[in-house]
């Protein structure tokens, strides 16, 4: 008997992503024959909001572009303004920024882990990973005063110095997290159910990855060793030793293993930062005392950061006033979750959609900035 194609909406609320986005699927039985992504549920017009505010006001908005990992936005924005204004950031502020970026990467990877297990119906993973992520958020709360939106990295430096004993507490947390990783492996990444579900599913071949402009762990899982932290070092990434993990399978399992290895690298980077954190007190560049006197000279700049999901970039144009003439934000999800996903989902199974979306690290707010 011939089967009819039925069309369903997968989303906008579903376990594959941290945010709202839907995928329209044409199904023949359980097999997907066509996929079309629909975004727009979270559009808040960030770029225009930034352009209407002074640079000092705007830095508190940029973190909201990406909920799971706001700090690369803050760093990108701050570094762009500094390049345009010619500000010299103190060395300690650069170390603190690098530390915050790696802490943010760790907590974003924990959130990915939670989603990866949750999208398979393996609910111990979200419970463990979210509980451990909360310990990082406790450290963020102590350092920045906020748990999710930190608003810590500001043009010119960072807003606060380290609290008393903070590096020791960070070191203890890293020891704890490292001791938990084998348990995470046993529970999910070596779990036969996960291996059966993840291997050979959601494959990105290297040619497609290059053609579509895939970045971050998704690209590294195809065998490419591309990482902005190594290719164009920023902040203090040129001073720390780390490797860029790669895999060659290009499937959900490969991407999971890349992210798993990146957790270890982040722990290693943070330990180096703890050892090398300067004792000096200077954390801000010399800035105009009156915030009304902040003016961004004419010019443009493109700054890039490696977030947990891949390359983040800000293109910024100054026109000599206290506001930016144009800001364009490009997050990695625009490529991964729209053009690539529509192609990847064809001929895969309905039950794998959430798992594939999560493995790509999809984050809708950065598509709709």
């Amino acid at each position: 008997m011939a089967q009819d194609i039925i069309t369903i909406f997968h989303g906008p609320q579903h376990p594959g992503i941290t945010g709202n986005m839907s995928v329209e699927l044409d199904l023949l039985g359980e097999t997907i024959k066509r996929a079309e992504t629909h975004v727009g549920y979270l559009h808040r017009g960030f770029e225009k909001m930034i352009e209407r505010r002074t640079v000092l006001q705007a830095f508190t908005i940029v973190c909201r572009i990406c909920v799971p990992e706001p700090d690369p936005n803050e760093e990108n924005f701050a570094r762009g303004v500094e390049e345009l204004m010619g500000l010299e950031v103190p060395e300690k502020a650069k170390w603190l920024r690098t530390m915050v970026l790696e802490m943010a990467r760790l907590q974003a990877q924990m959130l990915w882990f939670a989603g990866q297990g949750g999208s398979l119906g393996h609910y111990i993973s979200p419970q463990w990973a979210v509980a451990d992520r909360d310990l990082i958020l406790d450290l963020f709360e102590e350092l920045t005063g906020g748990r999710v939106y930190h608003m810590y990295i500001t043009p010119g430096g960072v807003r606060r110095d380290l609290p008393e004993g903070f590096l020791g507490r960070l070191g203890h947390f890293l020891d704890y997290l490292e001791s938990r990783l084998p348990e995470y492996d046993n529970m999910l990444l070596r779990n036969p159910v996960f291996l059966e579900r993840a291997r050979g599913v959601g494959i990105i071949d290297p040619a497609t990855a290059r053609e579509y402009g895939v970045v971050g762990p998704n690209l590294r899982a195809c065998g490419f060793m591309n990482d902005i932290r190594k290719d164009e070092p920023y902040e203090m990434y040129g001073e720390v030793d780390f490797i860029v993990p790669t895999e060659t399978s290009g499937d959900v399992y490969g991407r999971a293993m890349v992210r798993r290895a990146e957790i270890e690298q982040s722990i290693s980077i943070l330990r180096q930062i703890i050892r090398r954190m300067p004792a000096e007190k200077e954390i801000m560049a010399v800035l105009p005392k009156n915030h009304r006197k902040w003016e961004v000279p004419k010019g443009d700049t493109l700054v890039k950061t490696e977030s947990a999901r891949g390359e983040y970039s800000y293109y910024m144009v100054g026109d000599g006033t206290d506001k930016l003439r144009r800001v364009q934000v490009k997050g990695p999800s625009a490529v991964h979750a729209i053009t690539l996903l529509e192609e990847m989902l064809v001929d895969s199974q309905l039950s794998d959609v959430a798992m594939i979306m999560n493995s790509l690290g999809t984050n809708p707010p950065e598509i709709e900035r």
Binding site: I124, G146, E183, N186
Partner: protein, 141 residues
């Protein structure tokens, strides 16, 4: 199909956590205290506030209005405008820019972050004159 006994055994090893104390707090019996630098509700030391309006000027969400206090008796003698900031927590995003630009450090953020009221107007308040940071039961009349 080959059964991966080692993998299944590894996954089952997480059962040991069934016999360990929970990682969560027993809320509301045990409450989590915020860190020292937490960005919670505002407080304003009116004996220092000079009514300059820098906080109102920098607030990108227009959450701050400069208003006349209920009584001028407790104002700083140097308060030239005779006004003090009033917060609208329907707009505030707790970015702390207002406290950063305060030239006399009178406006600060506290560790308090829990407040419940059935009256929406209670979320527009004047720090220094009123205090937030407690659970308040009110009835809308």
């Amino acid at each position: 199909m080959k059964i991966d006994i080692k993998g299944i055994w590894g996954a089952l090893s997480s059962l040991k956590y069934l016999f360990q104390p929970p990682g969560t707090l027993r809320y509301p019996d045990v409450k989590k205290e915020a860190a020292d630098g937490y960005r919670g509700f505002h407080d304003n030391d009116l004996s220092k506030c000079i009514g300059c309006g820098m906080c109102e000027d920098i607030c990108m969400n227009l959450a701050i209005d400069m208003v006349k206090p209920k009584s001028e008796a407790y104002l700083n003698a140097k308060n030239g405008s005779g006004l003090i900031p009033r917060l609208d927590y329907g707009r505030c995003c707790w970015c702390s820019l207002c406290t950063d630009v305060c030239p006399v450090n009178s406006l600060k953020l506290t560790k308090n972050y829990v407040y419940v009221s059935e009256d929406m107007n209670r979320f527009i308040y004047t720090p220094g004159e009123e205090k937030l940071g407690k659970r308040e039961k009110e009835t809308v009349k």
